[in-house]
Amino acid sequence: MLEQEDADRVKRVLMEEFELEEDVLRPQASLYTDMGLDSLDSVDLVVALEREFKFKVVRAVDEERIRAIRTLEDLYGFIETKRREAQANPGA
């Protein structure tokens, strides 16, 4: 589970990048139907999260995972997974 501090960082990225209001950023909120993001936004979201959390998205590995993200909670889970992988394999 992503720590609150990191969840807040995700929310800040969403608010800054996509000019969203905080009240829409509930864990169950859909990135698409509730936040109004689309396929281009999801590309920009990944770039912004890479910058914020200093991880690297590898298209061949992560594309399916990203496509499966629907809610903010899913997004937290994805970031947690990337972080775990980075810790397990720090040279990657």
């Binding site: 109004g36 936004d41 920009d44 770039v47 910058r51």
Partner: protein
Amino acid sequence: MGTHVQIPLRRIVITGVGAISPFGQGVESLLTGIRDGRSAVVDLSAEWSNKIPALTCLVGAPLPEPLDPKQIERKFRRSMGPTAMMAALAAREAFNQAGLEGETLASGRVGVSFASTTGSTASLEQSFLHYFQKNFTESLGSSAFFQIMSHTCAANLAHFFGIRGRVVSPDSACASAAQAIGLGFEAIRYGLQDAMLCGGADELHAVVTGCFDLVHASSCRYNDHPDRTPRPFDAGRDGTVCGEGAGALVLESEASARARGARILAEVAGFDTVADGGHLAQPLSDSITRCLHNALDNAGVLPEGIGYVNAHGTGTVLGDAAESQAVVDVFGPQRVAMSSLKGHIGHTLGASAALETIVSLDMLTHGYLAPTRNLTEVAADCVGPDHVTTLRYQRFDAFVKNCFAFGGINTVLVVKRYEDA
């Protein structure tokens, strides 16, 4: 027996205008700046000398203050560079005046003909910075291409307003808006569309002025006195000064405008565009003459029916002389009043024909002729037309808008006061 079918030509009127100019946002600020005889040209040496140390022209006509990007919803704004953003705001003003919205725009009978020299020089610069740092696809936003692509204005406008008719982008550098208005005019005239959002836009950037520098077409002797340049048709002219902005005009069939009860500002009566076919950067007066004759024929207006020529008049040595010669060839010596607005707002490039047509419409409506700012001594090679050097109150019924571009592209629009048939 042939199968030739004569298509009845339709009359085309202007029902809305919008502007972002070196005098600010909105048509009113543009008109006020021109009526007051002000210069929008300013010293940009601090910013530009760092970017291009060898740049000789250190003045330009930027927007007086940055646009508030929040005027456009993020969903639409993300794919717009400064050029497309200016186009969108100018277009919104034009549609508001015309009273066109919603279902009408989505009907498929309304299109877009809007162009610029490039998509966005600032966005292009950002992209190449990422490219040279070798992280182009890793860190550049997903919408960079949509800001840079040559038809960024036309495509973004269609998206912004939900327009579903034809969308064309006749990008032809400084003639972009003139060709865009012309193609929009033709689309309506031949019954292919009922209304067209037409115009052009371009943004100011050191690289843009640098391109004029490269061919010695930029002004470099007045860096200490920005308000004294450019000097169209003047003995002391030494080149043009780049500006930025966007001009939008709603062209509409007379029948459509009347059916809606829209206020008709004027009639677009004729258009022509020809190529020099001889040189990419050296204007030919014969070619301009041919374009003027063709446009007048197209409009069914005789030269004596034209009361004013709104000149291309950029302040370059070769261009101003060629245009003056052509105007004399077509209209006769001292027969037609002519002025250029570039002494006020610089050369707004792809936006110029639209912005300057909008000001000319105001002159047509209110019966005045704005002078060529900075024209204090007509150059020997520009003698011939009746140069307007001070504000005149003079009624006229039709004007010609000249617009030329690198590449040997010449374009002429004929606009007249609207009268019921």
